[in-house]
Amino acid sequence: MKGSILTTLALQCSMLALLAFGGGINTVVPELQRQAVDVHHWMDARTFSDLFAIAQASPGPNMLIVCLVGLKAAGIAGALVATLAACAPTCLLTFVVSGFWDRIRASPWRVVVQTGIAPVAAGLIAASAFLISKAADHAPSLILITLATAAFCYFTKRNPLWALGAAALLGLTGVVS
């Protein structure tokens, strides 16, 4: 049973990473959540939002959300399998392609791919924002925290960690629930 979970994790994470164009891991959060919550029932949507928050608040690449999904689904082995599976195909691709980069850089297709994918990525990230917030905001005070963080990050250049830290403190003191 666990072996099959690991296989599923490996396949899903590899596929997700290869589809993560134009905005990093945030573009594939809707699919990751669909797989983890709706398809495989590894966790509920609220747990997924909590794990997403932990990945955001930790140092390192945000893609480590896949590591936490693997951890919840199949323990430490799951965490390692998910992370490696998410990194291996894209790293290999980068390794191979970085040698041909001068040719790609000159190609008109590079600009076309970048500008063509950008709105798709923006739509997917908007979907991520909706899904994460919908699962996390189960009280009016939490909706306020979401809106305040969004405004803070959009209108100032400060490190978003300030907003996450302030929210964590508010949560610890029990002001919000």
Binding site: P30, D50, A53, L71, P89, W101, G116, S133, L142
Partner: protein, 241 residues
Amino acid sequence: MWLNGAAPGSGEGDASRIGQRQTTLFVPVVPGRGRRVGTAPNLAPTRFPAHKQIMAAPPADETPSLLELYLGFAQISVSAFGGALPWARRILVERRRWMEPEDFASTLALCQVLPGPNIVNLSVAFGRRLHGWRGALAAFVGLMAAPLVIIITLGTLYLRFGQLGSLKGMFAALAASAGGLIVATAAQMAVPLIRKTPVTAIPIIVAGFVLAGLLRWPLPAVMAVLAPIGLILAWRTRTRS
């Protein structure tokens, strides 16, 4: 090093080294055998994979060693709260001076075209350029090791204690805040696109949101429908201008 500016410890005013430094250039050598990066006058004829020549060509104290590469990316990873790329630039370009600013921008552009997390791609592309596959591995492991340990620790703590009293409140507030963070990211991406090309951008952004967020289509299906439309529109805009 001559390719990417002075390494830590080597003085900026060292004229002999600055004189050796060349504009970065990727020259395909033999397919599948590595690429030569930069054109240095003292490089031997192509006989070995290019990265081995590069290791041998510049003075030893200028090319970051595998260990330095590992440590540099480890430093990036543990500094990188809320987005690794600004830190990557600060450390690679400003502090350690391994890359020129234009070099960083162009390598980053490559990493943004390719799928996957940009910072992970950057570690592989940069590490490979210095030391071939060993360099790619050193940079990648440096980038991933510490965050992996930290996040597994935090995740384990959450899964074990996350439902206890005030911690539960903390994680609820943290998740709500993380939701806001990604709302801002979405807005920062969408607003400039909508300002620039509203007619093409709005329908695609809305379609991506509806298909993935409301209708919960699988991602391959969303991409199969929207990516070609986005590419065709971008191609037409390009040829028109």
